[in-house]
Amino acid sequence: MKWMKNLKTYVPPSFVVERDDYRCIRCKACVEQCSFDATFYDEEEDRVWTWNANCVGCNRCAAICPTDAITVRRADPTYRYNHNWNGHVDGLKKRAIFGGTPVVSMGNDKPYPIYWDHMLLNASQVTNPSIDPLREPMELKTFLGRKPDSISVSDDGLKTKLAPQLELDIPIMFAAMSYGALSYNVIEALGRAAKEMGTYYNSGEGGLNKDHYKFKGNIIVQVASGRFGVHKDYLDVGSAIEIKIGQGAKPGIGGHLPGEKVSETISETRMMPKGSDALSPAPHHDVYSIEDLRQLIYALKEATEYKKPIAVKIACVHNVAAIASGIARAGADIIVLDGFKGGTGASPQVIRDNIGLPIEVSLAVVDERLRQEGIRQYVSIVASGGIRNSMDVVKAIALGADAVYIGTAALVAIGCTMCQQCHTGKCAWGIATQDPHLSKRVNPDIASKRLINLLEVWALEIKETMGAMGINSIESLRGNRLNLRGVGLNEKELEILGILPAGE
């Protein structure tokens, strides 16, 4: 017995791992694959067993077991039922026993309303024809960047000089996830998929490994408050530069990459000592106002000779519309709105679960505000934070987004089971880790293929839905809220989302 339970540190386990002992052939694959020290083999007893207290519910063991002997179950709360308190008892105990605020990862998991699921799309019937995307051309091509107020055309083509644009074959990009938070192989897979699909992946705030410069043409580089890994070559390799002001999962606080994840190569990429914590400050210390932001935007434009669009990413917070208007006026070409369900590699639980706004609402109010002010054409809007499927993409675009970012969905596509342990660096799926042995669990050949499949399927689903609506170009769907109807929403919510209720 390697472990003995101790009442002093006892918090009931969140999961129970059941092993069908008849089916178990003692191959020990589960033992090796569990990176959380929850599974053991006892030689004397010839038994494989689980220390449930350590289990994080990543399901790696169940997935690898060749005889399907393992079932991972959520442990039912054994306390007396109390709607008010049940969900808080363990959190209280953890703080009291261990004395620290719990750190978590991935996005907000609390049961806040999901507005995507309260919006229904339209389809053509009788009075207008639907289109079959397999027979007729369908355009998903999207350009992100500042659009002119008007254009003039001559026989030689467009006369108006356009601001730099990002050209996307599909309106879906991979959100900022840094090398450091994610393993090398995952970044490699994201890069390959972005290249293949004619879209972009975002470097995140950790700089860019030299090997990944090969993805030039499909990278958006991020400049965050820590300025890790930012230098001339880095800016040059990006097709656009994204200033990260905030992140949906943790609005108002900075980043923290624990020292354990700062390996040799990470330290080189981030230009910081190996093994030291990478702390990005909460604010950019040179951006305390919209005027300061303008300076940073133009400093970056200047540094890249006005050849690249500059994006500004903010977490959706209460005054998001006014802030977005300021950002548009400060000279940004793209605004990235990150809703409160967006993921993270590490965030204090209280912040993740209680701060921010839903992306659906934020997107609607920002699009509306910019239209009212007559500046919508100055910026493209990218919606991010909780885009789960292709219909969320369609609804986001109908609400006013030009494109979306996916982060969590992309990780799930390559194996992630959302066990929320990214901050531990022990990811059993080899995704959020720098352990060279664990990282091998992501084979970039397989992972990039899966990402490509995902985007191809989503693209087809989007085209199918557009066809049903009788729309053959994504441009005609953009901000087309008449194709949305709300169900189960109150009048105020409908008003804010700018959509009609079902039946009207």
Binding site: R23, I25, C27, E32, I64, T67, G430, R441, N443, I446
Partner: protein
């Protein structure tokens, strides 16, 4: 000629190649029966580990197979597919092949009554894709032309 290509960058040390090899060389070819009811065959591949490196090693089916040279009675031979295999009827377990193999991929089965049996990868004669290759969850083994 196709052989099993070892891609150590992708090996995750799960041992499923060994499991699949055991099942393939069992009587029943049923994973639970092979492990629980039968005399368990020996895995022809071996997963080696030295953090962070891990890889599965099995016979390379060498062109100039030293094991064939070393075998005293022709038990170790090349079959009609061109792969190096042991004839269990004639193998007397002298282990000369083991001494000769530069990769150390031949194992000793000492469970027969009279003589030992040299046991090695036969590249799954009953299959199109070898069992280990099919079982590997991370494409760390692939079946490819040399």
């Amino acid at each position: 000629m196709k052989i099993v290509k070892i891609r150590e960058d992708n090996c995750i040390f799960c041992h499923l190649c060994e499991v699949a090899c055991i099942v393939e060389h069992s009587q029943s070819k049923d994973i639970i029966k092979a492990f629980k009811r039968e005399e368990r065959p020996i895995a022809r591949c071996t997963v080696e580990f030295n953090y962070p490196v891990s890889l599965s090693v099995m016979c390379r089916h060498c062109d100039d197979a030293p094991c064939i040279e070393a075998c005293q009675n022709g038990s170790m031979h090349r079959d009609e597919r061109g792969y190096v295999v042991v004839n269990p009827e004639t193998c007397v377990g002298c282990w000369m092949c083991i001494m000769a193999c530069p990769y150390g991929v031949i194992k000793r089965d000492t469970r027969r009554e009279k003589w030992g049996l040299s046991t090695k990868c036969d590249l799954c004669p009953d299959r199109v894709i070898p069992a280990c290759v099919e079982a590997c969850p991370n494409e760390a083994l692939t079946f490819e032309e040399l």
